[in-house]
Symmetry: C2
Subunit: 228 residues, 2 copies
């Protein structure tokens, strides 16, 4: 009695790949119905198994979300790291690529991104598993990429004018997250804004970098009136 038009062909009584399929289904549902309006039962339905089956792979609903967050942070870190590419060819161009990679991830995996960062809506007392994921090694690795970039940029400054690296990294993070959170999650806010998230973030970063003092004069004009 196994499947006809189902999403994941059931070979036998045992599924064979249920865990990953459940994660995939959950990400899809989160994208559709919202990050915390998703239903474990519905994910099971999508995978073609009974509502109790997921509990063989995840302790509870929260554990599944935590796994989405954890694996999300891993891909996130990898993407950022690849984009930064050790600051090659130049710290500045690599930095730009880093910002774009950040936004790209948020756009391509909105479900993961929401679970990773919009945990304030989900938890505080509850949702400890997700919190744990947010301080997982993968999450730390992602932040380290930002910190590396900050370090490379600051290295161009005379030591006496160098702000704390962690602080600069946090600035970069808050700008990126601010843009991603406000502009990418559909419907959140700025829909009338005719600018792409990339344009907003890039211009913001340019002004910030100019303020830091790590911007060559050539790019001076970029941040001034182009669109009046």
């Amino acid at each position: 009695m196994n499947n006809s038009g189902r999403r994941w062909q059931r070979r036998s009584y045992h599924h064979g790949n249920l865990k990953e399929v459940l994660l995939e289904a959950a990400r899809k549902l989160i994208q559709e119905h919202g990050a915390f309006g998703f239903s474990l039962t519905e994910a099971a339905r999508l995978a073609g198994v009974s509502p109790a089956a997921p509990y063989r792979h995840f302790r509870d609903r929260d554990a599944l979300l935590a796994e989405i967050a954890r694996s999300g942070f891993e891909r996130f870190a990898a993407r950022l790291d690849a984009a930064w590419n050790n600051g090659i060819p130049t710290p500045l161009s690599a930095f730009e690529a880093l910002g774009r990679a950040y936004l790209t991830f948020a756009r391509e995996e909105p479900a993961s991104y929401a679970v990773m960062f919009e945990t304030g809506a989900s938890a505080e007392s509850g949702g400890e598993a997700i919190q744990a994921a947010a301080s997982s090694p993968a999450a730390e690795k992602a932040f380290n990429v930002l910190q590396q970039a900050a370090a490379a940029l600051c290295r161009q400054l005379p030591e006496t004018e160098r702000p704390p690296l962690k602080l600069v990294a946090l600035h970069i993070w808050t700008m990126s997250h601010g843009v991603a959170s406000l502009f990418i999650q559909e419907g959140s806010a700025a829909k009338k804004v005719p600018l792409s998230p990339e344009e907003v973030l890039e211009s913001e970063m340019l002004i910030y970098l100019k303020g830091l003092g790590v911007l060559p004069e050539a790019t001076d004009g970029v941040v001034s009136t182009e669109q009046a």
Copy 2:
């Protein structure tokens, strides 16, 4: 008020103030159990009424959240407006107050803030009511305060170097939201960071303003090495 031990003493069969009490209870529960882990039934319990009672005041759960968002935006706009205070005594000091007011609101009303801005986690296809609140007049008024501030700051620049106002306003918004979202919602991310959200945002804004070119030289040192 006329209570004894209960949260809201019932004078009679009719409650008299149920709508507001439900909103209050919901905000409390959201703060405790997470923005979307809250239960309408439990809010009703807190208010001392039956689970069906809320439906006399809100079409459904979403409508209650939308009302929290809407009223939240109103208080938010009022706070920002008061802090900005028309740029008095100086645009720069008023701007600093504005940033602090932003963070203060997020800290004092984390439930409201989460519902107002972390809608990506809640909705997209669903939760249209909340989306509507995010483009309500109140929300627009809040953004207008930011835009006023941006305008006042940019007025100090020669016209040829003036970036588009909306863009600067968006930059301010993304920085503020980034800090609020990452640092204020408990447990979200930076717990090991020994800096207050205010310190992060203020230093970030200073560098940004310096990049914009609207910072007097006196404050130059503030953004450089203080803590190594």
